[in-house]
Structures are given as C-alpha cells and as structure tokens.
C-alpha cells in the first residue's frame, strides 16, 4: 500500500506520542479527534481553552449536543470522572503559565528551525489568533499535525515561513500524512515514514534538507 495517511491515522499516530500522566491541549478541528484515540492503558488529562480539564472523547452524536459542554471548536465533548470546569482566566493561566505538557495543533507552515505559522494567511488583513499563540508560548512540547503539502502541492515544511509567524522555534515534532519529523538543533530529522513512502519521496516535497534518522522506520499504529 502506498498512500498518504488519512486525518484519522494522523491523529492515531499523534495519540501514541502521549504519555501517562500528561496534561495536554488538543487543538480545534482535526487534532480534536485525538481525544478518541488515547490508549486505554494510559491516563492523559485533556484541557480545552474554553474551560474544562479532564474531558473525555468528543461526541459524534449531535443529537446529544449540549451547548454547555463543548470544546473550543464548538464540538460536543463528553465528561469523565474528575472533570473540572473553570473560566478562561484560569484556563489561560494553565496555558501561559507553563502548566501544560503538550499542545497539539494544525499549521499552515513549519520552518527548518521550528518556526510555526498557523493563524493568518498572507492574503488576510485580519487573522484568527485564537488561543494558539498562547498555547505554543506556554506548553512544554509542541506537536504539529498537518498535510505534508498544501492544496496546490507546495511544501508546508519550509526553509523560512512565508506566512505570518505564530512563534519562532517552538515546534518539537511534526506529524504529517507522509512522515514524522523531529525538530532538533541541527535541523529537521526524518524519523518515520508512512507505509510504502520512501525518504526520497518525502524529501521531494519538503523544502529544507532532511536529516535521516539512524532509527528511521515505518509509522506504526
């Protein structure tokens, strides 16, 4: 089989990055699905910007929609024993105060040095900052999930971000539909490839020269 990973598989792979006991924010949109893929053998506490800690998976059944129980993207979430609710001041004290271990979000571009661009396109006069900038400045580890190329086939892993920056040098790990890439001081390290895809094929749609990990392997789920 040789095809790019679906969004669900990207989320499944991302969920495997999480460790027992971690406090994690998963971003709105695709990353929110990670809440459904947390391995049952570990306990991960999920936070949402709009003010809940330790929520369960997002709910696919919109008939059970409760406007008072949603994530930052407006999707219904489930309760878990030990869930707590708080206002956005406490929420962003957690986020900006360095209390979260990991944040996982989407991106337009990530640069060779781990710069992140994900809030505004060059065409937009006003962008949507939301809580993303707060999250990447505050969290200990930043994981980006994205397609490897944009809709026109251009690389999203770039030498220098051409989109307005969210923050400089903050990205630790990039999980795309083709590869898992770590940001290290020397540059970007290709660690895992999607089944059937070669490092050469990945390099061909990646702007900066990738460092090939000695432990390079196929992505496992």
């Amino acid at each position: 089989m040789k095809s790019r990973l679906t969004r669900q598989l990207i989320c499944l792979r991302a969920a495997r990055e999480l460790k027992d006991g971690e406090y994690v924010n998963v971003g709105i949109g695709v990353p929110a699905q990670i809440s459904c893929f947390i391995p049952p053998e570990i306990e991960v506490v999920l936070e949402v910007e709009n003010g809940a800690l330790n929520h369960g998976p997002i709910i696919d059944d919109w008939d059970k929609y409760d406007v008072d129980l949603i994530n930052a993207g407006g999707q219904p979430i489930s309760m878990k024993p030990g869930i707590s609710f708080f206002d956005v001041a406490d929420s962003f004290a957690m986020i900006r105060g360095g209390h979260l271990d990991t944040t996982i979000m989407g991106a337009y571009q990530v640069s060779e040095r781990g710069d992140l661009a994900n809030w505004k396109t060059p065409e937009q006069s006003i962008g949507a900052i939301g809580g993303g900038m707060d999250l990447v400045f505050g969290a200990k580890r930043v994981i980006v999930l994205m397609e490897h190329t944009d809709r026109s086939g251009r690389p999203k892993v770039v030498k220098e971000c051409s989109y307005p920056l969210t923050a400089r040098g903050v990205v630790d790990l990039i999980i795309t539909d083709m590869a898992v890439i770590g940001a290290i001081p020397e540059g970007l390290e290709l660690r895992e490839v999607a089944p059937g895809i070669t490092p050469e094929e990945i390099q061909a749609v990646t702007e900066p020269k990738l460092i090939i990990s000695k432990q390079l392997k196929e992505i496992e789920f």
Partner: protein, 243 residues
C-alpha cells in the same frame, strides 16, 4: 435591602448609551446571553465598542437595518471562519465603518482580568517576535522578550449564568462559564442573564463562582436560544470536519 433582580430584559438594558464599551460573554453559543444581545439589537444605540471572544458574540448587532451597531471590535478570533467566505465583518471594515483589534485569547482574557483587578497594563512573552508586537512597548524579563498589553475596562458586561440570586451571586454550567466571570469583574455595570433566579442562601457559598459584588443586574431569561442558531453551528462544524 439589596435586590439586583430586574423584572425584564428590556429594563435591564435600558440605559446603555451610544459609544459604550460593551463585552458579551460566551464561547461559541455556550454561555452566550442570547436574550440580552437580542434586546441590545433592538435599542437604537450606535458606535459601541464590542469586546468578546469572536464576532459571533455580536452577530445580531452586525447588521441592524443595514448598519453595524459597533464601531470597533476587540476579539481573539476576529474572522467568521468555519468555511464561510462571506465574512459579515469584511464589508464594514472595507467601508471604514468598523475597526477590528485582534488579540490572542490569553491576552484578551488577561486584559479583562487586569481591567477588573485594577492593573493598568502587564507584560507577556506571548506575541513577541510576531506581528502581534507591532507598536507595543517591549522589555526583557528572565531573558525573554515581552510585550506590554493594556487592561480593558468595560462600561457594560452582558453575561450569562445558570443560577443567580438577588445579591448577584452567580454559578455557571459546565463550559458555559468561559469569559463570563472575567467580564463581570471588568465592567462598571454587569448584567447577568440567568436560567434560574434562586433565593438567597440556596447557592452553596463554597461553589459561588462570581460573588455578587461584580454583578449589578440579574434578569431571568425570557426565551431560549433558537434551535436554528445552534443547528446552523452544528452544520458549519460538520462541514468543516468533512473538508
């Protein structure tokens, strides 16, 4: 005797003047004081400065007989996303009728908190080295570059809570707490739409989230948020998920 309970939504909003700085609570439709916003849209006030998580909080005020009731919006998510290409704000911005100030969510809430706590400004590293720093004072703390952000003080906060008593004590429901307690702190006049008005002493003192000192008027909701608003929202999210 203190009694902050007002008989109707109309009376509760009667004195909001032109040019007032008005925050509206809520994150999406959760914790959004639907009755208050709709009533405000009926008032013929103009040139309001709106503070809220996203422009959706101001939706009924954006087009009232072809006019935008706001002259400025301070918001963390100042575009109407979820795939809609026709941003209702764009038209007013282009015509120069509406100014939009974008701020990160954490900075927005901290600016409100500072406004409520008597802190005129503060420094944060969030936004340093990005477009967000433009025109802002900078200083280095712990070898980290920080930018200065000013407090936001509100004339009015329109908020939503689950239960409230005549002293203005409030409790919320689940994630609908969101911006409401912070906006209550930052306003000269806080008007709370509540699902239920309860007797004093019914709320557990250990569980009261917003103590009455921050709340000036409490009014019971008169109508439910229309199902079609929430329905519309569901559809947009589902569409976005499919893309």
């Amino acid at each position: 005797m203190i009694n902050k309970v007002i008989g109707s939504v109309r009376e509760a909003l009667a004195d909001i003047p032109d040019g007032a700085v008005v925050a509206i609570g809520g994150f999406g439709w959760g914790g959004w004081p639907y009755n208050l916003v709709l009533e405000l849209a009926k008032r013929k006030v103009r040139n309001l400065v709106g503070v809220g998580n996203s422009p959706r909080q101001f939706l009924p005020l954006l087009n009232v007989d072809g006019h935008c009731m706001l002259r400025k919006i301070i918001s963390s998510y100042p575009i109407m996303k979820h795939g809609s290409r026709s941003d209702p704000l764009a038209e007013y911005i282009q015509k120069g009728e509406l100014e939009v100030e974008g701020t990160t969510m954490g900075t927005l809430v901290e600016r409100l908190r500072a406004g409520g706590a008597g802190i005129p400004a503060f420094y944060t590293p969030v936004g340093a080295g990005t477009e967000v720093e433009a025109g802002k004072e900078k200083r280095i703390f712990d070898s980290r570059e920080c930018i200065m952000e000013y407090a936001i003080k509100l004339d009015y906060a329109l908020i939503k809570a689950h239960k409230g008593d005549r002293l203005g004590n409030l409790v919320y429901r689940h994630t609908s707490r969101n911006y409401n307690p912070v906006m209550a702190m930052a306003a000269k006049i806080t008007i709370a739409q509540v699902d239920n008005i309860v007797d004093v002493s019914e709320l557990d003192p250990e569980s009261i989230v917003t103590p009455g000192v921050f709340v000036h008027r409490v009014v019971a909701k008169e109508v439910e948020t229309p199902v079609e608003w929430i329905e519309q929202d569901k559809q947009k999210i589902q569409e976005a998920e499919r893309r």
